[in-house]
């Protein structure tokens, strides 16, 4: 049977699921081809890297609040022998904070962990279309981890040109290996993304359960589906750009450097070299702007599911929600220039990019209104997952609205490269995406591990994170508009920034609090793995397919027969059902 099955077809996966039930610890938990195990592997490695990225942020905040105050660590790659942070060390800290958080935490946790875990379960497939490719997509993350770690250990330290790595700065000093290793690591992450995306798209197109039409898919699957398309189209551009940067650093090419660039007295490229630094910015943002949506769309999907489940009410405007995901993704490809309004790009082009950027706020606004509409008339309960989901909506509003300031080209003149944009990105990615991720973890933890998380600890985690998160990031709008540029190691060097020093210290104290607020989460997570109360199949009384199988789901997901789908995933409070929910699989007797 397995010879006849073409890889990637439902028949092949059916065969795989039935005949290759893995034996032994290594095949079952480490080199597993089971999408659930791979998802959980992504989740664990993201948690670990999240701690690394968070610690780097603490270094950055320490320096901003008390510039030059010694850390009791002696000489490290960040500090000099007196324990004071060096200029290089500071640049490494914020560069690697962003790189680790974006490339090793947020993208892997959304697409890697939740994408892997949820897509087959939610569409009623036994596994991914390409289980081995899936395993590979996780294991190429390890070379990336290794390269990122190695970049810290080599002479000169890790990358220090910002996560955006604008040349010429990122192309100078070819003997500093850290920047090159960084670029290689990012290529590895991109490789993983592309393989994952191929897999998700194929799986969603080919392997949906009987009756699972595209418009009966949960919004989480829609979001992950569109995200996969974005990843597939945009990531190769990032990979090419990184390759060009590596060539620039090692082989003396002139993609970005030109004949006028020199270091000390030496011209770096011969006369006639016509490289253009803006080329990097175009290539980089052609990936990295869609990547912003790669980093938020899945979280929007989780939040839609969580809100519907705990409001006990169908998602308001399911189709507009789907169309707005598609709209965000489509427009996402024609707005990259808004990162470059002041870059020397033709200002006429700036006007065009401003209009497309303003328009991308529209589908985001539609999503917000629909989430609020979903709450209207509901019977809302607030477990930790729902607290995070509602906070996501509230915080995403701030992150979305502050984007309008940056989209407006004249206002962007003032706030470009200031803390205002730092506030904006953190409202999008921290109180946005990570709140969505926390909602997802609290919501799907029972399905992942078969046990419930502790709600009291979850509540503590939520309130502390919410308060300290806003304490950390909100005032950044103010100091940014007040003229504090980003990426400076010492605001006290500027007389005009002295008045913000109290705010900077306040934000740092909140940031420390925010870091410590994750302790209840970690305790809760690891304690609940073994000590939480056992969860049944459907602890939240939700409708979608993943709740039809046991918790945790077996290899092959659905026992002997794949369930048949009869309706959309959000039939809460349906008049057709005696209960306040109506699973997608339940067949109603004809009236």
């Amino acid at each position: 049977m397995s010879e006849a099955a073409v890889p990637g077809t439902p028949a092949a996966v059916e065969a795989h699921a039935h005949h290759d039930d893995p034996k032994g610890f290594w095949r079952k938990y480490v080199f597993s081809t089971d999408h659930k195990i791979i998802g959980i592997q992504f989740l664990f490695s993201s948690l670990l890297w999240g701690l690394v990225g968070g610690s780097l942020a603490m270094l950055v905040r320490w320096q901003i609040a008390w510039p030059g105050a010694a850390l009791p660590v002696g000489e490290t790659m960040f500090t000099d022998s007196a324990g004071k942070m060096t200029g290089d060390g500071y640049n490494i800290a914020f560069t690697m904070h962003a790189s680790v958080m974006i490339f090793l935490v947020i993208i892997p946790v959304l697409a890697g962990a939740f994408g892997n875990f949820l897509i087959p379960l939610m569409i009623g497939a036994r596994d991914m279309a390409f289980p081995k490719l899936n395993m590979f997509s996780y294991w190429v993350m390890w070379p990336a981890f290794g390269l990122f770690i190695a970049s810290f250990l080599v002479q000169g330290g890790s990358a220090q040109a910002g996560w955006t790595a604008y040349p010429p700065l990122s192309a100078l000093n070819p003997d500093q290996l850290g920047q090159t290793l960084w670029a290689m690591g990012v290529i590895m992450v991109g490789w993983s993304s592309i393989m994952g995306a191929t897999n998700y798209i194929t799986t969603i197109f080919r392997m949906r359960a009987p009756g699972m039409t595209l418009f009966r898919m949960p919004l989480t699957v829609w979001a992950l589906f569109i995200t996969a398309i974005l990843q597939l189209l945009a990531t190769p551009v990032l990979g090419s750009a990184m390759m060009m940067l590596i060539m620039e650093r090692t082989a003396g090419t002139a993609f970005f450097l030109n004949e006028s660039v020199m270091q000390q007295t030496e011209y770096l490229r011969p006369e006639g070299s016509g490289g253009q630094p803006l080329l990097w910015q175009h290539l980089f943002w052609f990936y990295s702007h869609p990547a912003v949506y790669i980093m938020i769309l899945p979280a929007m999907g989780f939040v839609s599911d969580v809100i519907a489940t705990f409001a006990r009410k169908p998602v308001f405007g399911y189709r507009p929600m789907v169309y707005s995901i598609c709209g965000i993704a489509g427009l996402g490809f024609i707005v990259w220039g808004h990162h470059m309004f002041q870059s020397g790009m033709n200002p006429y082009l700036g006007t065009a990019f401003m209009i497309s950027t303003m328009m991308i706020a529209l589908p985001s606004a539609v999503k917000v209104f629909n989430w609020i509409g979903t709450l209207w008339g509901g019977q809302i309960v607030f477990p930790a997952a729902m607290k995070y989901a509602c906070a996501f909506v509230g915080m995403f509003i701030i992150g979305g609205l502050s984007g309008i300031f940056m989209a407006a080209t004249p206002v962007d003149i003032q706030i470009h490269d200031t803390y205002f944009i730092v506030a904006h990105i953190h409202y999008g990615l921290f109180t946005g995406t990570l709140f969505g991720v926390f909602a997802g973890v609290y919501y799907w933890f029972p399905k992942m591990f078969g046990r419930m998380m502790n709600e009291r600890l979850g509540s503590w985690h939520f309130w502390l994170t919410f308060i300290f998160g806003n304490g950390t990031f909100f005032l950044m709008h103010v100091v940014g508009a007040g003229g504090m540029q980003r990426r400076i190691a010492d605001p006290m060097y500027y007389d005009n920034l002295h008045k913000w020093s109290f705010m900077n210290q306040f934000m740092t104290v909140c940031a420390f609090g925010l870091f410590l607020s994750q302790i209840p989460f970690l305790v809760n997570f690891f304690w609940s793995l073994g000590g939480g109360p056992k969860a049944g199949r459907n602890p939240w009384k939700a409708n979608s397919l993943e709740w039809e199988t046991t918790s945790p789901a077996p290899h092959g997901n659905f026992g002997d027969t794949i369930p048949t789908v009869h309706r959309g995933p959000y039939e809460f409070a349906s008049p057709d059902s005696d209960e306040d929910y109506l699973p997608q699989t339940r067949q109603l007797k004809p009236a």
Binding site: P320, N370, C390, I397, D417, F572
Partner: protein, 286 residues
């Protein structure tokens, strides 16, 4: 129904009778009123933005406050509804949620109104953007009333060069200054931005002027300062390990003061060009 005691659960609140016309008008009146009041109130805005000192700073600030007013309105509206619904529709014993899949009318309403507002906002910006950045509004460098200054960004300092009476760069009567840029008030200044190493960004926070420097290109920008005083010049683009220290001062004089400064600096330098910046030698080779 499973429980006969709750056979008639509290009916969900009736859908508001949609009167889109009234809603739209009320909404626009509020919004426009807010803008007019803000623009004409003369109320001293909270001094968050740095003190403005150029002709176009006020225009940029006005746009900032208009956007803040509009997004502030939506912020209060959406956050208010969010919290209100979270409280009002929290689960009650025996309650059942409304069974609705959405409302076409509402979707149209909350697509078109924000769409129009966003489009209006975008168009509203273009005038100021063009005034500051477009070539058409750039003062001519040949205009005798325009002061032209070459700005050289390098790791980690700013250098400035002025034409002498011969109005040519690269001759003996040039005036060169490191770290300080002196300009006259009420006269247009064109800066020619150049770098020979990494990207820098020439930012005058008080003048609402910012422009990156690109190796291999000379980028002209203009501004007109309206107040005398000393203002910061900031590098806004990460340029290396001492990026923080790349600051300069913009010193604005009255016309007489500016001419006096030029004459004094030229006299002090003698007949030769002062090479305050070592990079000059190399730059002049090309």
């Amino acid at each position: 129904m499973s429980d006969p005691h709750h056979a008639a659960p509290t009916p969900p609140p009736p859908a508001p009778k949609a009167k889109p016309g009234a809603v739209v008008i009320g909404f626009l009146v509020l919004l426009i009123g807010e803008i007019i009041i803000l623009a004409n109130s003369g109320i001293e805005m909270p001094r968050v933005l740095p003190e403005p000192n150029s002709t176009y700073a006020g225009s940029v600030d006005m746009l900032f406050w208009v956007i803040l007013a509009i997004v502030g309105f939506f912020f209060i509206l959406t956050e208010g509804l969010l919290v209100y619904f979270m409280v009002k529709y929290r689960a009650r014993e025996g309650g059942k949620a409304a069974h609705t899949h959405g409302s076409h009318k509402l979707e149209l309403l909350w697509t078109f109104i924000p769409g129009l507002i966003l489009f209006f906002l975008a168009v509203f910006q273009t005038g100021t953007w063009g005034w500051i950045k477009f070539k058409g509004d750039m003062p001519s460098q040949d205009d005798p009333n325009v002061e032209v200054v070459q700005v050289f960004g390098m790791q980690f300092e700013w250098n400035f060069r002025y034409r002498g009476p011969d109005r040519l760069f690269g001759t003996e009567d040039d005036v060169v200054k490191k770290g300080e840029m002196h300009v006259p008030v009420d006269r247009k200044v064109v800066v020619l931005l150049q770098t020979r190493d990494v990207l820098h960004s020439f930012w005058l926070p008080n003048s609402r002027m910012k422009q990156d420097l690109l190796p291999g290109q000379t980028i002209p920008q203009w501004f007109e300062i309206t107040k005398t005083g000393e203002w910061p010049i900031v590098c806004a683009e990460l340029c290396g390990n001492l990026h923080t220290t790349m600051k300069g001062a913009l010193i604005s004089h009255t016309e007489e003061g500016f001419q006096a400064w030029l004459a004094e600096t030229r006299a002090r330098a003698g007949p030769h060009i002062v090479d305050e910046a070592p990079i000059w030698k190399y730059w002049r080779q090309k």
